[in-house]
């Protein structure tokens, strides 16, 4: 700008009548700003406070509530609650522990890994003798009386 002013001072000015300042083009920013502000004024906003009655209707309608489960029933053996299509957790835990102990004894009998003999296995509890049907089977002995839920057939 200082260079231009210097040039105006040295060179004779043009003999043209006209406004001292050239008319500036109307800036787009101002119009854009105006339309933006205008667009803000047309956004959605709540007009009235939602009353507690209306709020309750919305919050408590069945679609939003947790569904009640009808597939829970007491186990016929132990009385704990269980789902109808799932084994009772208490009864299964008993069976799982006993199975783990029996399997531990089998592992001890086998000694080393990959030593599974090609014979059936039978579990005998305190005071039980192998029957005729258990002739060639591998016998696993458990030092406790037979539990009532481990029936022999």
């Amino acid at each position: 700008v200082s260079y231009l002013l210097f040039m105006c001072a040295v060179v004779p000015a043009l003999a043209v009548q006209g406004p001292g300042i050239f008319p500036q083009p109307h800036r787009n920013e101002e119009t854009e700003e105006h339309s933006f502000l205008d667009s803000i004024f047309w956004m959605a906003a709540p007009k009235k406070r939602r009353t507690i009655e209306i709020n309750r209707c919305r919050r408590r309608n069945p679609q939003k509530l947790i569904e009640t489960k009808t597939n829970i029933e007491p186990c016929s053996e132990c009385g704990n609650l269980k789902q109808k299509h799932v084994l009772c957790s208490f009864c299964y835990e008993k069976v799982r522990r006993e199975t783990a102990i029996i399997r531990g004894q089998i592992q001890a009998q086998e000694g080393k890994p990959l030593n599974n003999p090609a014979v059936e296995t039978v579990v005998l509890y305190e005071g039980e003798k192998p029957a005729d049907a258990d002739a060639g089977k591998r016998i696993v002995e458990r030092k406790r009386p037979r539990p009532s839920w481990f029936t022999q057939y």
Binding site: L87, V95, L114
Partner: protein, 166 residues
């Protein structure tokens, strides 16, 4: 061979996606099947138990052809990674389960896994295993003395009411 139609035919697709790909899926199922033949009762996720069931029943079906059958031996040696179990399959499982046509395995759903994923678990077992039974049938209590006496009493009451009514 489709064991549970709704479970397997999901949107017209047979067999689930598992592991890192089809090969990984077969390897995983092979390991689980080997475990099943060794221990005769195993706990896995429900989806894996459902898939292994198909392969277990097919394997036993093949093994029923006998020890000498080449195809049966190939199948057994592929699917059972531990070779002492091949003998167990032909000498123990086939005589035990051979009389039936299907239903050599049973699957029960158990409560969800304790860890963070709370996965849907199942216990998969072979029929006739030596372990305690998972499901005990309730004995029929109609034959007990008390129930028979009550039955007789009920019959007497209805008879007297009918007679009294007439």
């Amino acid at each position: 061979m489709r064991l549970t139609l709704p479970a397997l035919i999901a949107h017209g697709r047979y067999g689930r996606r598992m592991g890192l790909g089809p090969e990984s899926r077969i390897n995983m199922l092979r390991n689980i099947l080997t475990g099943l033949v060794r221990h005769e009762r195993i706990e896995t996720t429900w989806a894996r138990a459902d898939e292994v069931r198909i392969y277990a029943e097919k394997l036993i079906g093949y093994a029923k052809k006998g020890d000498t059958d080449e195809k049966a031996m190939k199948m057994a040696s592929f699917w059972l990674t531990e070779k002492d179990l091949v003998h167990k399959l032909f000498k123990v499982l086939v005589p035990r389960l051979g009389s039936e046509q299907h239903g050599y395995t049973r699957v029960f759903q158990i409560p969800n896994r304790d860890s963070l994923d709370r996965a849907k678990m199942a216990v998969l077992e072979l029929r006739g295993n030596p372990f305690p039974p998972l499901v005990t049938r309730q004995p029929d209590s109609n034959g007990t003395l008390l129930n028979q006496l009550l039955c007789g009493y009920r019959q007497e009451v209805t008879r007297s009411r009918a007679a009294g009514g007439d």
